[in-house]
Symmetry: C2
């Protein structure tokens, strides 16, 4: 059995805990928290909740630690720190900072003879895998990534920072006609506006000026100005009843040409429709933990990404089983 | 530059030749044929066409040999034979015989300190990769593979063996309503008939009895009896004008549940829409040849499958480039 630890018990930590139940070759041995452990109630009977200050005592009791922190401030610190004690897996998703995060984690993991796999989930994660395969197979082609329909946390936060806004959710929605144009092999070039629309659901503070808030949202540079944005003002009751979901998803396409005269077009489409964004992410993290354990057992150390992992290492099945049933 | 050889110059051999043009890190050094080389005209100036009897002279001049034979009779012989001289890649696609083929090729490649990657293309191949990832990520779920719309060579051959048939093409077509049911998360259980229909285009010999031929097709066990089958009798002119295409494609789905009470459903869909079945297959083979070269350079030998290859090894880009741009 691969012995897993969970560092951090929010949406991701809970998702890992639940995903491990379906993994026949893994067991959860402890959940670590910055909070008072007696205040944290987990789902799994018999698994201790431990304050993070005691984590070093668990160095020899955990094969892989899954780091369930946020990308903005937690993981840039946590992953290099814990890679000095454990084999670790994280879901760091700030694309632009991946090279820097990789370098920090690689140095830490190598110095401790550990393996660390960063940026696992679906984007970065499964979408990255799809882009990599598809770019290699169809070098003469175009990539398209669409997200949604799903909540963008960053855009929701941006709305909440506007004066007079009590709460807000922003859904990113792919433009259906643009998906169809890609599927039809038209190899279109899109403006930002043509790929996604933004739907906002906003609860105002008492007495706030709706027209001003709507204008501020729609004109916000980077976040909304380049998009067709719809703003819906709703009551707090409606917000709480209808906008708590964690569904998300998206599409990775590559459309590319082959042939002596480039006369043949091919379209690769990968689509995710997810009822729970964090639970799908953690389902990937658990598979990557399995892979990290195997890669470490083979002698690998340092920082890796999901692109460095053979698909077979995601699976609990043997090579024989995979060849007989899934190949 | 990775030096490639092509063994066999039919649809697959030509596809490899064309795909190599887009690979900046590879060069084609020779094409091998069982025919008289002077009778074989290839597309690439300056590349020799060599009779297969002289292949041993090329042992030190080729890094990876791509074996472009058929699965029924060629590859079961060719792959073990040439794995004793070269690192090889094949597209062996008889699913039921993969374990046997693997064992034969593994013994041959290991004895010669070579690497061999078998069963690469799209099914087996990219579809296998998708099934493996998706089964690992969503262990509590169901798989669905749909093929088409595209020509089934085996079913076309079966029709041509009927007395009175001059020529025939059979298209496998997924049932649209069933695709939608899977996409809607209904997790349906399908009969064979509910997943695909079979459309046949048949040219009769002069004086053949159309009603008898249609009955024989529709009642043929395994091939057609379990499907809704449409038989269209057409002229040889129409056949030659409209039924020479090599388009194909298909879908791999997994629909699976997560959550403390399995309350969340997730749907992974991978869809290929291919203008040329052989050219997409050979585009994969060329990427796998790149991967085989790297894996051999790392000291791996024996038989591998596409499930054993990290996605990054498909690409000509460095780890740094992949992390910066595709992760």
């Amino acid at each position: 059995m691969i012995r897993l630890g969970i560092m951090g018990y929010g949406n991701l930590g809970r998702g890992v805990e639940v995903a491990v139940r379906d993994a026949v070759d893994m067991e959860l041995v402890a959940v670590f928290t910055r909070r008072d452990p007696s205040s944290v109630q987990i789902l799994t009977a018999g698994v201790p909740v431990v304050n993070v200050s005691e984590v070093a005592d668990w160095k020899d009791k955990i094969d892989v630690m899954i780091l369930c922190g946020g990308s903005a401030t937690d993981l840039p610190e946590m992953t290099p720190e814990y890679a000095q004690m454990f084999n670790v897996v994280d879901s760091f998703d700030t694309h632009a900072r991946i090279p820097e995060h990789f370098a920090n984690v690689d140095a830490a993991a190598k110095s401790a003879d550990k393996i660390a796999v960063i940026s696992c989930g679906w984007d970065p994660g499964m979408f990255s895998i799809m882009r990599t395969y598809a770019n290699a197979i169809l070098p003469d082609g175009k990539d398209y990534t669409f997200w949604g329909k799903g909540v963008s946390q960053g855009h929701s936060d941006a709305i909440r920072r506007i004066d007079g806004v009590k709460n807000a959710k922003q859904y990113t929605v792919p433009v259906e006609a643009s998906l169809e144009a890609v599927r039809n092999g038209e190899n279109p070039t899109f403006t930002t506006r043509q790929m996604h629309t933004r739907e906002c659901f906003v609860v105002l503070e008492d007495g706030a000026d709706a027209a001003r808030v709507e204008k501020e949202i729609k004109e916000m540079p980077n976040y909304f100005a380049d998009y067709d944005t719809t703003v819906n003002f709703i009551s707090e009751e409606e917000f709480n009843a209808n906008h708590q979901g964690l569904a998300h998803g998206g599409y990775v396409f590559r459309s590319g040409k082959t042939g002596a005269d480039k006369e043949h077009n091919h379209i690769i489409e990968y689509k995710l429709t997810l009822d729970s964004n964090p639970e799908f992410t953690t389902s990937v993290l658990v598979c990557v933990a399995r892979a990290a354990y195997r890669m470490k057992a083979e002698g690998m150390t340092g920082c890796k990404t999901i692109l460095d992992i053979p698909p077979a290492y995601f699976s609990d099945k043997s090579g024989e089983e995979l060849r007989a049933h899934l190949l």
